[in-house]
Structure formats: C-alpha cells, structure tokens
Symmetry: D2
C-alpha cells in the first residue's frame, strides 16, 4: 500500500486525536501517505480531506475531541451513499481505511470492507460497550471526568449530609456507572444490566440516615433510568430529598489520560501495521493486555460487551 | 478576649476549610482559644462543638466543603432560637463569634451581634452576590470548575459543530455566567441583571451557522432562565438543536484555588484581629485589593452586589 | 488607525494566548486589522508575521504558552536593530503595536515608542515583579501550578514525616514563594526581599520534630538561594535530612486559570481601546480592581514591584 | 479468622489509602475485625495501631499518600526485630496480615509469613518494577502526574523552540519514562533496560533543529542517568542548550486516578478474601485483567519486572 486514510466517526471521545496522530506517524514511519478525512463518513461522501504530515498532528495528542471532526451521516446507510464513499476512496488513491469510532462507525467500516476496500476499525466509545476489547478509547478519560465531578459533589454531600443522584452516560451499558461507584466510594449504582430494587435502596438510605450517614451518592447509568425519576421516587417513598445532576457531555471531553493516550498509540500503530500486512476487515482490541484482532463481521454481529459481574459485586461490597 | 468561636453556615463552598484553619491558627497565634461549632447555627443551638487545636485544622486547607459542616436552621429565625444560640455561646465561655457564609448566614450573625455578642462575618458564597466585597470566598474555585466543564464541552462542540446551553448557579446574580463566558470563550451569556433578546440570539446563531461556526456555547445563570427552556425556545424559533447541561452542585466543591486559599487566609486573620481589637458587628471584605470592614447592619440591609457593566460588555465584544 | 500589530516576548506564560485572542477580537470588533508577529522582536526584525482572523485565535484561549512564539533578540538592543524593527512595522502598514511580556519586553516597547510608533504594553511575567500592576499575566496560573505540586508533596511529607525544600521561580521577587506558602500551608518561605535566619529555621525544625511534626515544607524563591544549598546547610547544622525539588519551567505552562483568562481579556481589550484613542506609550495594569494606564517611561525606570509586607507576615503567622 | 491487620510500607504512593479502605470495608463486610498498623513495620515493632471502623476510612479514598503512614525500619531486618513484630501481631490477636508496599515491604511480609503468620502482599510502587503483576498500585497516578508536567513544559518548549531533559523516577525500571514518552509525545526516552547512544540522539537533535523543530523533550529514568549530566553532555557535544527538570517526589502524590482506585479496590478485596480462605504467603497481582496470586517466595526471589520491548519500540516509532 502507498496511501491509507483515517477518519473519526460517531460520538467524539478523548483519545481520538492521539489515535489519529499515531496512525499518521506510524504510517509516515512505514513510508505510506496518510489522508485525513474530515467529518467522518459525511466527509468521505463530500470529499473533505487533506494530506497529513507530521505537523498536521503536532499538538493534538493532549487535546480532547477530534480535530478531524465527526458527524452523523444517514447517507452512508443507503447503497448509493456507500458506493459514493467507496468510489471517493478509490478516487483519492486510498488503498486502506482506518475507522475510529463506536458501534455504528464500525458498521460503516464493515460495509466499506464488504465493498472490497481494506478496513481496520479502532474501538472508541466512552460507554465501553464494544465487544472484543477490554477497553475502548475514551473510557478511562470519561471515568476520570465522572469521578472528579463526584469528588466535588462529595464535598457538598459531607458538608450538608445531603444525598445526590448522579446520571452518567451508558444507554445499554453500566460500565461507567459501576466503575465510578467503586472509584468514588459512592453508595449505590443502578445499571441497565442488573435489576435493582428501589425499595431496598430506600430501606438502606433510611438505615444510613438513622446511623447519621445521610450523605449518600447514587450513580445511575442513563440506560437504568433518569436521575430525576429516581430522585422523585425516593422522595415519594421515604420523603427523603436528594439533589440531581446529569453529567451529560461533560463526560466526553478533556485532555486524555495516560491510559487513553497509550491505548491510542497502540491501537493506531497496530491498525497501520495490520493494514499494511494485509490483515483487514478487522477491529483492533485490547484483550488481556495485548492488542488482538477480531473480524469486523464478528464485531458488528455480536451483542454489546457484557459487564463483568465482579464489578457490581465489588461496588456493593465496598459500599456497605 | 480569651475564647472565640467559628462556624460555617449556608451553602458550602471551597475555601471555607481554609478560612476556618486561618481563624484557628491566627487565634492560637494570638493566644485565644478557638471553638469550632459544627453544623452552623443548628450546632450552636444543639451545642455541637469542639475545641480546635493546630491538629484539628491540619490537612483541611486543600479540601473543598467544610469539615465543620453546615445545615439549614429555621429555629435561628425565631426569637427563642436566637436567645438559645446566644445563651449557649455564653455558656461555652465564648466572647466573640466568626460566621463564615452567605446572605442568610450574615443575617444570623447580625442578629447575634444585636444580642450583644461580638460578631465578625466572612463572606462566602459562590454566586458573588454579597455586597461590600469584590469577591466572596468560593467564587474563584467555582469559576474554575465551570470553565473546566465548558472546556470539556468545547471539545465536543468543535468535534461535532454542536451548540450547548450550559446552566450555571446564580439566582439573582450573573457573575459566574458572565465571567465564565469571557474565560471560556463562550458565545452568549444570559444573566438576570440584563434583559436579553432571544430573537437576536437566534439571529446570531443562524448567522454563525451560515458562516460554518455552529459550535456555539450559551451560558445561562439560573436566575435568567432554565437551560432546557432556552434550548426548547431556540428549537422552536429556528429548528436548531442544542444540548443542555446543568452544572448544579458540581460547581461548589473541589480543592480551592490559590486565590480562594489566599483570600481565606486574609479574611480569617483579619476577622480574628478585628474581633480582638473590638471592631465587631462587621463583615470583612475585599475592596480594591485591601481587606476592609463594613457594618453588618449595612451589609444585611443592602441590595445584592450589582454586576460591573464592563463584564457583559467585554463578554459581548470578545464573542463577536 | 487601520492596522495594529501584536507580539509576545520574553519568557512565555499562561494567558498570553488569551491576551492575543482578546487583542485580535477587540481589534476586529473595532474595525482594525490585526497583524500577529511571530517570535517576538526577532520576528519583527525578520518580518515573520501573519494577518489575524477570528479563526487564527480560535481554540487558543485555553492553551498555555504563546502560539505567536517568543524568542530572545539581542539585535533589538542595537540601534540598527531597533531601526529595522520600526521600519518593518511601517512597511507592514502598522500604526500601533501591542507588546505582551515582562521587563525586558516592555523596555523594547518603550524604545519603539520613542521612535514614534504608538505602543501599549501588557505586563506578562509569572514572577509578578512588574511595577504599576497588582498582578501580571501568568502569575495566578503559575501559583496554582506550584500549589498543586506542593499539595502532591504534602501527601508524601505526611506519609513519611519527611521535610522538603521546594524552589520556585522569582529571581528578584518572592511573590510566588510567599503566596504559595500561604496557599499550601507550607511552614517556611525564603524570599529575596527579606533576610532570613537559617539558624532560627533550624531551631523551629528541631522544635517541630520534637512535637512530632517533622513533615515541614520550606519554599525558596530562586533569588533567595538554591534549594539544594538550603537543604545542605540544614543537614550540616542539625543533621536533619530534607528532600529537594526545583519546580523550574513546570511552573510556567498549563491551561490558564480563570483569573488569568479574565485578566488577559481585560488587558487585551483595554490595550486596543487605548491605542485607538491615542493613549499610547503606556502599559495597562490592574490597580485595585481597575485597569489603569502608566507611562512606559515610568514603568521601565521604576524599581521592581515591592512585596506587600502583609504577605510574609501572614505566611509566618499561619505557619506557627 | 476473627481479626486481621493491614499496614503500608516503603515509599508512599497514590492508591494506598484506597487499598486500606478496601481491606477495611471488605473485612468488615466479611465479619472480621481489621487493625490498622501505623508507620509500617516500625509501628508493628512499636505497637502503634488502632481498630479500624467504616469511619476510619471515610474520606481517604481520594487522597494521595497513606494515612497509616510509612517509615523505614532497619530493625525488621534483624532476627530480634522480626520476632518482636511477629509476637506483637499475636499479642494483638491478629491472625493474618496484609502488607501494602514495594519490593522491600514484600520481603518483610515474606519473612513474617515464614514465622507462621498468614500474610498477603499488595504490590504498590510507582516504578512498576514488581514482578508478577502488570501494574502496581500508584503507577497510573504517577504517570498522569508526569505527563501533566510534560504537557506544561511543552507549552514553553513550543513557545521558545527550547529543548528539555526531564528526569523521572525509576532506578532499575524505565516503565514510567517510556510510557510517559509515548503519552506525552516526547521525542526521546533513556531507560536503564536499554543502552542508548547519546551520539545518535545529538545527531537527531541536530537534524530536528535544521528542520525547525528544536523543541524536543527527552525523558530520562533516574536509573539511566542524571538529567543534568545528559544536558551537559549534549551541550558539550553539539553546543545545544537544554533545560533540566527533575520531577522527584512530585510524581508520587496527588489524588489517585480511577485506574488506581479500582485496582486498589480489587487488590484489597482479593487480599482479604484469600487471607480468609487460607490462601496465604502470596501476593495479589493484576495479570491480563484478572487478579491472580503468586507465592511471596517466588516474588521476592524473582528479578524485577522486565519492560515490554514493545514500549520502547512504540515510543521510538511515534517520535520520528
């Protein structure tokens, strides 16, 4: 291969810039041209791209988000759009494509792969719901954002004996909520993967209140319920007032942690290396400390990554 | 005086611990006993207190919130409660009281002063609405919290050309919102002190959108409207989708900034010094780089601190 | 005026980017062209410059250092160099110049002003040694960097009952060291403005050691001695081992604090406004919460900003 | 078992408090008393201990260092000291001991185990040199500290085209230096595990200088040389001036990252669980995402953890 391309797609996360940098620098070190495509698949269709140099990726490593930008692209889901994207890649002289993103983005990558273009996917999604990788890009930074916010709330919670319900991202996946519970020393976590008993939680809140520990923090993954609803139900059941905070997009951004920067470097370089070796139609993933490849076909057809049952158990045990 | 007391009251903020530490250490250095009263005025009524030593305040300087805790206390607003509080102070042998808190707390301090107990107030409130001080304790830390969050959001905003409406604290006072606008480079700020024209904002959003700059950030002080309402109205008027984030109690906590730690040290030591010198019934305040005293009577009867019109003008000019 | 220029010079500091952004945006808002000169006075001599647009300064506000870069320039101290710089400004059609930097940089600005080019200076120097301004740009960020490092060291100091000598910047000025002492709760500060008695410090260390408080932290401004020398002398005198850390350039960088971003905005806009009004040959400064102008002639001929004696007194009192 | 004890020993690191908390809370949840021993093995000899309750470990999770403190203890290396320590444990009614620390601390734990007391070790050391665990406690926080400092330096490096030599911890182990190089985008890393060619580095610096990229950052693990020596040699060889910073104890402290907090929770609970199950004389370790046990005998007799050769290769490739 003489020329490859890279794009970021779907929800942005910290570490995308570091991954693009790694792709560009690894590519240049291996004597291939690297094209950066702007605005994800939309930019592929609209032919928004630029040749990447060392300088294009200087000073981006430490920045959140993605300088290549991202965008929704409904057109890619049509046959015409897909064909146009593929034709454009060929028109640019691109022989291989690296896609950095979540579920939907990897789906798009798989579709392009099926059109005969070599593709490698890099999993990036703060929810940590992508299968066949222990960690996706952006998860560690998001966790540190969440826990920094909960640390702040605990100052107020302890000062006022006040309880908080905190809503984290995670529509289908409670990873962020449950790890943040363990890491922040929060008292309860509600996640979509496990049923929860609000009666029992209210009972516990009451007991803690009697013991003089009314400064509880409850983390809710968005897929397990709206924080406001949980707070309202607690109010109804036991008359106990809680404050609500929805962390929202605050979780995504910020300078990536070392974990995410290192993961980005490893993913980026592995993606380029495998693309050049002819191992494509694959996603790179972190499996037990090593970077392993999984067929994109398998990735896009698999269920979301399940939560390790050890995590909710640990959260539960340490919050007693 | 041989013995003084200190309490924190009202909404907690970063720097309260540093101020308590300064009061204790300055007191001890001047050979006075210092009593720490827990849970604000409620603790004064319930006689929750402890003698403070150097060790009581070691390792608290860098922590948010207040280790003396705070609480609402309706009883203090009754004559009986006020008398009990005053009697308790005398019963503890306390000859002077330092109150760290916002409006309501200073009111309580003034009431105790009127009962003949020497009182000094230290202004602490993240809203920066207390008159006769350029800055209250906790404002600078809150601002840095807000701007850190907006910096995160800007990563996503730039990555996706997306607009955000961010709600800050500030019921009657837009200081946080307007300074955070200048400091984060946000595009618009809505504050309770100034009328705003949502039509004009929509017009500007449309213009910016045409210019390819759709990643706007709008800061709203809670007193100027609910973020969700603003977002809904923008949606209705121009069909432009914005994301909403309500920063809530995240703004309060966290390790205090150097500005707040220094202010806490200056306020704490000035409070003790003046109490011992017989200058009481006063609030300490920062006025043009100096610590000045204002009669509590004047403070509690004054309007909220007005916003310097230079600030919204500056925000406006730099966002063009 | 139709066209003005801006440059950053001398040691970089956080907030320079924010000030350049403010100059550019305020200039554009007032319908003047703004030229950015790269690499300080050297760039003026070498004609390294670019026309600034809104986009040139997007996403720089939150970044440390200066994207316009800075450099030493010995040539500016020669008559030929000065004339070339001035001629180049005229050649670019520049009618006014804004210089962001410290002592030496303001000297250069004054020299250009004397050649008949309207100049405004913006004080930027982490040492806070520039006279006629309460705070220079970059000081607040540097202080927060220092105190974050000392907070880290205190974790180790408390865990091991260990003492540290920490060297901060400040050749002629102990502001950083003394404010960081107050803000971090360090025990001792050695500054160039005040004589210190190492015998007395050793005596205090010994007393503290006997009281079981051997985790002392000593801050030394570089102008008051080398941290390693202080540590060696303490070792010699009382056999007490201390660890040494020289914070060096770590202090300069990092995302600017809100204080520095706001100051940058105010300085930048005031500089442009006054340049256009014809008030030049001046430095903008923060004096008692207001932006005031001082003649550059007066600034460059004045002594360094003296330290407020209240600060070492406060440091001393609270460390007892 | 009815009663177990926990101590922290050796150099402190972030996450120790979180691990103690996990041990205490897991112990209480499993109905065992937990004794906290102060000042490491010295406290075991001097009988400095306290019964731990939920409250003893509240608000410590987010704090760096170790509230149980640590200390050097030469006495433990004598037979008499070891016997006294063991007798004291029995005297306290302690049936099992959890030791949190590095090499030397695990050696001490193994010695106590050989005296017939059930012991479990938790690896904690910022160097990441302990074998049989992918990561030790404190490594991730130290890395983030280092990279935050290097991010600051890069602001100055880019502003001034200046090179820095940065010394990290790591006497026998270059893990911190090499990962920080990848994560910060530094240009060179010198580590004790691999020979380096200073001539070649000087050659590269010269080439980069010619290409206009003179803002290089060189990370040196302390075991690979003193930063000042490296800088002096570069100066001698090519006349190129570099600034030096020795990060020292700044690396150790600070609020632990989520990674370290989660690892602490997992290590702490696994330690208690295995102690109670009778699996002792072991160290818990992170091996490929799982917590695994290794005999302490094997740990103390093994070589330091070798560096994964992929890391220096990756650092090298991305810095081109």
């Amino acid at each position: 291969m003489k020329r490859i391309a890279v794009l970021t797609s779907g929800g942005d996360c910290s570490g995308m810039n570091a991954a693009v940098r790694a792709v560009v620098r690894a590519g240049l070190a291996m004597q291939v041209d690297v094209i950066g495509i702007y605005k994800g698949y939309q930019g592929l269709i609209d032919r928004l791209y630029e040749n990447m140099t060392t300088k294009s990726v200087s000073n981006v490593l430490q920045r959140g988000g993605t300088f290549l930008q991202s965008a929704r692209c409904l057109e890619m889901k049509t046959e015409a759009g897909l064909r146009l994207a593929t034709d454009n890649l060929k028109g640019m002289g691109v022989e291989g494509l690296i896609v950095i993103g979540g579920d939907g983005s990897l789906n798009g990558g798989y579709a392009i792969h099926q059109q005969g273009v070599p593709v490698i996917g890099i999993p990036a999604s703060i929810d940590n719901d992508i299968p066949f990788t222990d960690m996706s890009l952006g998860v560690d930074t998001a966790l540190n954002n969440i826990v920094a916010a909960v640390d702040n709330l605990k100052d107020t919670a302890s000062s006022h004996d006040r309880a908080f319900v905190v809503e984290t991202m995670g529509r289908g996946c409670g990873y962020l909520a449950v790890v943040a519970t363990i890491a922040s020393g929060a008292e309860f976590s509600l996640i979509p993967e496990e049923p929860y008993d609000l009666e029992q939680i209210c009972e516990d809140l009451r007991r803690r209140y009697r013991e003089g520990r009314s400064n509880s923090i409850i983390l809710v993954a968005e897929g397990a319920g709206k924080a406001q609803d949980i707070a309202d139900q607690i109010k109804d059941k036991i008359g106990f007032e809680t404050r609500v905070i929805v962390l929202g997009h605050y979780q995504r951004g910020g300078s990536p942690t070392v974990f995410d920067r290192l993961l980005a470097a490893r993913f980026g370089q592995a993606a380029v290396e495998n693309l050049l070796k002819g191992n494509h139609g694959k996603m790179v993933g972190l499996q037990s400390a090593d970077i392993k490849l999984t067929d994109l076909e398998k990735v896009v057809n698999a269920e979301s990554r399940p939560i390790d049952p050890m995590l909710p158990q640990l959260a539960n045990r340490l919050s007693v």
